[in-house]
Symmetry: C3
Subunit: 408 residues, 3 copies
């Protein structure tokens, strides 16, 4: 397969979609897991989901199962969800709170920091200190928790340093999850990203979103079009007010941050463009500051607004299935029914996600045809897709490392 | 696998069923798609289903997705259902009517003849004439539409020339679909055919059909038994009346046409043997002319009666799943409830299909056993099965061409 | 794969769980079927299920389908459930009664002893005597039916001779099935066994069973702990009364028989420990004799009590799916509602099975993680698991025979 992957990469025609196998082949999917999802930092949860010591959530990344848990010292850690005895998963629920991590099979008992505390009848020679839970790399950044299941994690600091000034104003540690949804899109994870990275499809598919979100690529693009005066003025006004807003993109293309204006007088993603939450989340004191848009490949994109925030997490399930989890964050003291209406808060992106699911699924079905031939991207409209594809191919090649070289 | 296929073919014992792998192996199934279904002409729909310009249906053949659409010039054409931009399927419904073919993703817009008419923001260098829909071979024969997804289609004219005189009397262009059913049989497509090509199983399984359909192999067979005087007289009477009826079989065995008598006074496939439709379909003016039976491997068998017609289309889904679609055609001006009763028209073959599904599924289950050993076909009763198996093996070998030779 | 299996076996660390591939790899699963389930004797049914001549049940073992039928001569025989004509399954129901075995496809008709009696229109050269049903090895032992689908079956007599004295007192030929359940556990069949072979998990998972069943490994173990005086006294008392009870294990470890005391005054697996059935099954006339526990790898474990018996059959379905069928046997003349209450009889093991399903499924999920590393078994608590794992590895190597040697 190494040589196949190299041949596949070589067969990609610049400016065009990826060859079919990248979207539906089982071995390419395994390579994507191995080289991308098992090696890169992934967004896991907003830190506020773990309210107190012992609060945990469980997640899957391909074949890995992970527990993310807040310790007695308030530190958030991540562990592999597999007992060191006979391998059983330890936490079987999606989320919960436990004073210790106790395996349900034979009650081996671990501290919240992963140390094995108790194991019955294991004999005199048994060394508990060698049977603690295996750790997963875990970093908290301004209220967002990222994890990495690789043995050695790549650099996280560059991203952290760049993003922190943008994010800290949004005070996400004082948020709560007002609503969450999780859907399966029957499409390859890269099609989910390609869909996300352009608004060429918006006018034809997203009636709710288009009430507030500008489909103009000179507003939302990544350099395929010069930023419009509108955007330049918007950013200048915010930066002058002490709100970091300048478009910034990682040298390697893995993440991007920028603040952009919404349409007309809109201040939030609602049907009428008015705020969804009366109590602000964070300290972005200019109501029409628009969203801080962030993406971090391969797992997340986010919209941080003055009144709420929306975080998305994508998880590949199979070559043609991807889970998209969306969480709507509001201030932890905002009261449902008083400060916000749940339907009003969530409806635009519930619709938008479902509309995107439909186009992604149609895209996948057509790509599966033996006659599929990658077509040209629009430079004007699809510069973001091009940027994603370039990041993907470069990362695949870099992470495969010697394998890749050996096969050439 | 090439050598495996050759070894498998070589292991077939003449006069006996096929070795197990032909019925349940994933690679043989892929070879069947590649060498048979992706290379041969396949029956798609009765032309009357596309009533007017812009009417379309969509179909799958293995991994291929096809649009069959009637143009403004009334010509029926077929296209691959995949946009030349990012590959999305264009028509997502099973059938419908559109003035243009518009991709739902980014609204690339194609004429009904496949030419790309409009694509937004693709830049000055973009050549729309090179981005028309990819065509699928398509032929209309006496109201029946056949397609072929191969780059170069094999000969269709021999079949067309042979079948036309038989078919044209049935005036299928003036038909309408009164009813259609689609079922999945959990059996290999070749088991569906083997079941279809003999009536050895009829007495034990088809109480409704056996009211009108003769199970006698000297009536329905393909040469394993001499035609009976009954059949000879029947055919002679019809031919004398200008109704082509003589048994005729393709040199290569791919198709057969013949007119055969029903039992006793029966004139149609009904529970009482009387006509199902009071308004005739076509110009076969002798009521007890019986069915014109036609098969065309690998996709269709048909019964054309003086009062209605039934067309079957089989589509392989997996090594052990086959879709069988049945359509009952009546004169376009026949009125339901006046000229025909829907239940009366369809019940015999609805029952028969379901009974066949059950025996095919039992057949598949037993063949899956490691001890399955192909048994002998009855020369008297199963000459049609033998003929199908011979056609299949010969076609597989011919279509594999040089691969086949290279491995020997 | 041969070399892979050898490498896998070599990578097993004594005293520890098996490497991951043994629990979830498709090729290992195929090897398990091929070398274990297709070669060893397997428990099929209690003989009492086949009440009279013509009574049959059907079963699947991997890809094999088997009919077990009682003949006119009262002998129980087993056949492959595949017609010698075109391979159809002959008996399509789970159980039933037929005077002959008639293929539903073309009515080929077999005697209950497998001989082909009638096949229509097969011509003068057809030799019916060469087309009888293919036989499956079948042995009845004290009312328990064992089968083997191998061409040549391994020794059964050693087991029969050892087990007969223990079993015959239970008079299983005069039993009836009072209740049966069949569940699918989403775990590898070996995890089902590992779970069965220890009671380390009982206290934490089986509240109903622990009312009567001793979790003490010195009572239930296989030599990891010396039998306690309690057990020695129990056995001595029973043996003195003519009830064979001594712990006995096969030299190769495939089967074990022993009688063990229940907790306190308990005499049966009920919530209150009292008898479940007022009419005894068999001639174990000491009410607190406790269960005769038997296992026979790879297909069955059993508990024979003075008042009833419980037989378990495990069937691997996929690498991570196993069917567990449980049957509760009572005296054939015991009357439901009078001599026993069905709920009271079955509830403890219905609960226990479901609790075991849950821990097995959690075990499988955690083992699937790429970081799973086989942990140490407790010598005190898990000697039975160790014994199973040793039997499995030894049997796999022995049955693979020359393959195994060739690859070394």
């Amino acid at each position: 397969m190494n040589s196949n992957i190299n041949a596949l990469i070589a067969s990609h025609k610049p400016g065009h979609g990826l060859p079919q196998a990248f979207y539906n082949d089982a071995e390419v999917f395994q390579t994507d897991l191995q080289e991308i999802f098992y090696k890169e930092w992934l967004f896991a949860i907003p830190a506020c989901e773990l309210e107190k010591a012992g609060s945990y959530v469980t997640q899957s990344i391909g074949a890995y199962k992970v527990i993310i848990v807040r310790g007695s010292d308030n530190v958030i850690r991540a562990f592999h969800n597999s007992c060191r005895h006979r391998g059983s998963v330890i936490c079987t629920a999606k989320k919960g709170n436990n004073p210790k991590l106790v395996c349900p099979y034979h009650q081996w008992t671990y501290e919240l920091d992963g140390r094995l505390l108790w194991a019955r009848d294991m004999g005199a020679d048994f060394d508990a200190s060698k049977h603690g839970l295996k750790t997963v790399h875990c970093r908290e950044l301004a209220g967002l928790v990222y994890i990495c299941v690789a043995e050695e994690a790549p650099d996280f600091d560059t991203f952290a340093k760049t993003a922190l000034p943008y994010l800290e104003l949004h005070d996400l540690s004082n948020a709560k999850v007002a609503y969450e949804s999780s859907i399966i899109e029957n499409g390859n994870w890269k099609l989910v990203w390609e869909n996300n990275r352009e608004c060429y499809h918006c006018a034809g598919n997203h009636p709710s979103l288009c009430r507030t979100y500008p489909e103009d690529p000179s507003v939302t693009g990544v350099g395929g079009a010069e930023p419009s005066p509108l955007v330049q003025n918007h950013v200048a006004r915010l930066e002058a007010a002490g709100i970091p807003s300048q478009f910034t993109i990682d040298a390697g293309g893995q993440f991007r941050l920028a603040r952009m204006p919404l349409l007309g007088a809109a201040v939030s993603y609602t049907m009428d463009g008015k705020a969804a939450v009366s109590r602000p989340l964070g300290r972005v004191h200019i109501p029409d500051a628009g969203p801080l848009v962030q993406f971090h490949y391969p797992s997340t994109w986010n919209h941080f607004l003055p009144d709420h925030a929306i975080v998305f997490r994508i998880t590949p399930i199979s070559p043609t299935e991807t889970e998209v989890t969306t969480k709507w964050l509001v201030h932890k003291d905002a009261v449902e029914g008083v400060d916000y209406d749940l339907n009003r808060l969530s409806e635009v992106w519930i619709h938008t996600n479902d509309e995107d699911r439909e186009v992604v699924e149609n895209n996948q079905m057509g790509i599966n045809s033996p006659v599929y031939e990658p077509g040209p991207y629009s430079e004007t409209q699809e510069s973001g897709v091009l940027q994603f594809v370039q990041w993907y191919l470069a990362t695949l090649q870099r992470n495969r490392g010697p394998q890749s070289l050996a096969a050439e």
